[in-house]
Symmetry: C2
């Protein structure tokens, strides 16, 4: 049996034919072209699924369905994208529209939920029943698995990135101040690195980006810290502790077996994992009495979303 | 059929015979006397259960079991109190010890978990499937119900009070800084009211407590605010918003149908509920697209723990 996974992104739609053991057997990508509108994008999803099945020459009865990972706020039960700022979508009944173009069973979840499910079935979370994944990119996405299933509370929950960790802190894109996202995202790290360059306090950092803040990436401050630049070391320490506070908050609530991280910052590997795990071990509630999840790097990278989307079909009792 | 609920507190052990419809038919209280040690306290629980059954003249086969609410960190599956600072207990195998004194089936959860379950079956949460209760007292206890069952993630989770909302903020009893508990508890409100009295900025407040900070209660600052004392109004506003941030954080993750509050501060009723609900409605993530739980006052008061303890026996698939 085979599943079709769709990773619907702002730039491209990735579609994959996925085996029972969650290997991607065949993959097709196509530009999303947001301006063509929801109807056309969703029809394209149905077509990509058909193309995959045809090219792989799989008999129709061996296809279990289509799983879709979409950015935004999703009503999984009704199959509606309630809101996606990337796509300018509001209340798009994605699964209903898809149903007019295909008779295959289809399921949907948001991108971070698919990513954590992907890691659960085929990545760093294999063997876990309870798993948390934070995606550290433009924002902070959270995917939470409880007892082997995507957790969204009473519906639409499991959103951690817009939880406050610094009351009246940095402004967030969501309108609040001090959200986890405005501290732990790659965007936030880049913003603060730029501020440090502009402040003139770190000649080493300024040199690394050739005095051009446009050249600052999520890696720059780590490079400067590894050269023992004091301000950069302090910023890295702050970043790790702020990310750490978020992980501690999540462990206190969800007590997963592992916490996974993904995003470019994870290329720092042990350089961030070591101090991060130390911080988390020291700060979780009742750490002397309850096991504390290790923080690890996710394994599937950009493939997690596609694999996890396919795994939506597999998820026991998927809505 | 009948259930026995036990509310194990630092001052007294409350035991109740509870009907199928969660009415307390007969109640017995006894001082806890912590110094007699775990073994004696747990034996007393078994005895109280026997006394209730005997006095109510209920046939043994109509007693479904004993549910116990205990303070501290609980391993519900193994029936162990991992840690309780009130009792100076560490790794006390409560259900095993109880088993040496009674053959009745027994279940355990922490006090906030029992309180939310009590409200779910017989209080302000009747009809909800997903419910959050915050107990605002010495600390901030959190009881979370997801899909009709106590939520504790992978085990021992569901603890919100020690989540950070103000990084590097007020010191908390747990050793961290800026925990929700160090802002939203009654203790925190009293501490800040006292600071305001000492500061000399609020003559109205100083007068209300006769210039004696020992006379400050959780009510004092509300009384001064109702007299339009500017500093007290500002403190009440701060308190409500800090409690509000915590509620927003919990809604983003758990999307309950209601959020309930209990504790003496709830006597303020609409005076806190109105601004609190306004804050929560304005600040929840994706509030335009997902329903936002109303914040209400819990109904069962001090009885919630006992009723909820009895309801542990009722909980579908209780561990």
């Amino acid at each position: 049996m085979y599943k079709i996974g769709i990773d619907l992104g702002g730039t491209s739609i990735k579609a994959g034919l996925v085996s029972q053991s969650f290997e991607i057997l065949l993959e097709k990508n196509t530009p999303t072209n947001i301006s063509v509108g929801a109807e056309n994008i969703i029809r394209r999803i149905a077509e990509l699924a058909d193309e995959l099945v045809r090219e792989a020459q799989i008999p129709e009865e061996q296809i279990q369905g289509i799983g879709i990972g979409s950015p935004g706020v999703i009503d999984r039960r009704r199959g509606v994208v309630l809101y996606s700022n990337n796509f300018y979508w509001e209340n798009v009944p994605l699964l209903d529209i898809l149903g007019t173009y295909t008779s295959r069973r289809a399921f949907i979840a948001n991108d971070a939920q698919c990513a954590v499910l992907g890691e659960l079935v085929a990545g760093a979370g294999v063997g876990c029943q309870d798993l948390v994944l934070l995606t550290l990119g433009t924002g902070v996405g959270s995917g939470i698995v409880v007892n082997g299933r995507i957790f969204e509370g009473g519906g639409g929950g499991g959103i951690y990135g817009h939880n406050i960790i610094v009351r009246n802190g940095e402004p967030c894109t969501c309108g609040r101040r001090g959200c986890a996202e405005s501290y732990a995202s790659a965007t936030a790290l880049i913003r603060r690195t730029r501020e440090l360059v502009v402040s003139g306090k770190s000649p080493a950092l300024a040199k690394l980006c050739s005095h051009d803040i446009q050249k600052v990436t999520g890696k720059t401050v780590f490079d400067a810290a590894k050269q023992s630049d004091p301000s950069s070391c302090a910023l890295v320490k702050d970043y790790i502790e702020e990310l750490g506070e978020s992980i501690v908050n999540l462990i206190n609530l969800f007590r997963p077996q592992k916490v996974l991280l993904s995003g470019g910052i994870c290329n720092q590997g042990q350089y961030i994992l070591e101090p991060l795990n130390k911080f988390v071990q020291e700060n979780c509630y009742a750490g002397k009495y309850l096991p504390i999840a290790p923080v690890e790097i996710a394994k599937l990278g950009a493939k997690a979303g596609l694999v996890g989307a396919a795994a939506l079909i597999h998820e026991v009792g998927s809505p």
